[in-house]
């Protein structure tokens, strides 16, 4: 590879402009999907989340919090990519926690 490494597309991203980009790309690199992230969230926030329920149609899942609040997850379980960071951010908002910390916690979870 040493002579041809520069044939691979290289991109430079600013974390200051898009702080969730590192987590979103790490989730893609680690091949995480919506179902993996939901499992992780349920495990990490079992005191706040009552259950992750399966739905139908355009809302395959929703997160039910112990407060009764319902967070819709309008993505199929096998979907991956940037939406994973979005799900984590939405949950952090609903729980009133710092988005960056919650993303870090999900990232660190093996």
């Amino acid at each position: 590879m040493s002579s041809s490494y520069w044939l691979i597309p290289t991109h430079y991203l600013s974390l200051i402009k898009a702080p969730e980009s590192i987590d979103a790309l790490y989730f893609i690199y680690a091949n995480y999907r919506v179902q993996d992230i939901l499992k992780k969230l349920l495990k990490l926030y079992k005191d706040d989340i009552e259950n992750v329920e399966e739905g139908v149609g355009r809302e395959p899942y929703h997160i039910r919090l112990r407060t009764g609040q319902r967070i819709p997850v309008p993505y199929h379980g096998t979907k991956g990519g940037y939406v994973l960071a979005k799900i984590v951010n939405e949950l952090a908002d609903a729980l009133g926690k710092d988005k960056k910390e919650v993303r870090e916690l999900v990232r660190r979870d093996p």
């Binding site: 597309p9 430079y12 991203l13 898009a18 980009s21 690199y29 979907k79 990519g81």
Partner: protein
């Protein structure tokens, strides 16, 4: 426009090959992974060398490397997952990493930046190499190997990271040789897998043929049964 571009535009050659592969072997690639338009808008194609930025992010970068290895500085996004594939450098972290290296080895910041960028490129290129090897096996067999392999080793394969670090450390690039000592000490404090690079070194040389052959054989040929899913079998029946 440069003379080289008029001749042949190398910068998009692998992208074109990947596009062709995606079209020809549709069943081998994932469709549902999306990089947000927000992120796509933020992409730059040239690095920004900023020492002040590096000084601000040096501590964060070092703790990031301790926790996530060199993936804290740059991430390789495989072409099996998205059309926006490639090596993604995080500007602040790359400057932070360069700042650490320049201070510890007493190098001018610009030189340290060039060396660090090259070293990270070498590490991430190995991930491309592994994916490329998997793709060759896939196109011969017409069955999914790379995606199930990544599925099996979530979040990362320790052997792959160890070889990526060993490849980086044993590179013949003079830039990497210049900062090798510091790279080695950062590799040693990285997470499991990243710090296991000595397994793949012999008298400071990579066991190129033996170990790499073992890695590819083990992960893309011998373990096919382990990864095979119903989807693969269906694909095999249809084609075979």
């Amino acid at each position: 426009m440069s003379a080289r571009k008029l001749f042949f535009d190398f910068s998009s050659s692998l992208s074109r090959i990947v596009e062709e592969l995606r079209r020809e072997y549709e069943e081998l690639f994932e469709k549902d992974i999306d990089i947000s338009p927000v992120l796509r808008r933020e992409i730059a194609h040239e690095p920004q060398v900023e020492e002040a930025l590096g000084a601000d992010f040096a501590d964060e970068t070092e703790s990031g490397i301790r926790e996530y290895g060199f993936e804290a500085v740059a991430v390789y996004v495989p072409f099996h997952f998205t059309t926006d594939w490639g090596i993604y450098f995080f500007k602040e972290r790359l400057n932070g990493f360069s700042y650490i290296v320049s201070r510890r080895l007493n190098l001018p910041f610009e030189d340290a930046f060039a060396c660090c960028e090259r070293a990270i490129m070498e590490h991430e290129s190995f991930h491309f190499q592994a994916e490329y090897c998997g793709t060759i096996a896939e196109t011969i067999l017409r069955r999914r190997l790379y995606v199930p392999y990544r599925e099996h080793f979530k979040p990362y394969n320790e052997d792959e990271e160890a070889i990526a670090n060993a490849t980086m450390l044993t590179s013949r690039s003079p830039r990497i040789r210049r900062i090798r000592q510091e790279l080695q000490s950062l590799c040693s404090v990285s997470p499991p897998g990243y710090r296991d690079y000595p397994k793949y070194l012999r008298v400071e040389l990579l066991w190129i043929m033996e170990k790499l052959k073992d890695f590819y054989l083990k992960h893309f040929w011998e373990n096919m049964k382990l990864y095979s899913s119903r989807r693969d079998l269906k694909c095999q029946v249809v084609i075979g």
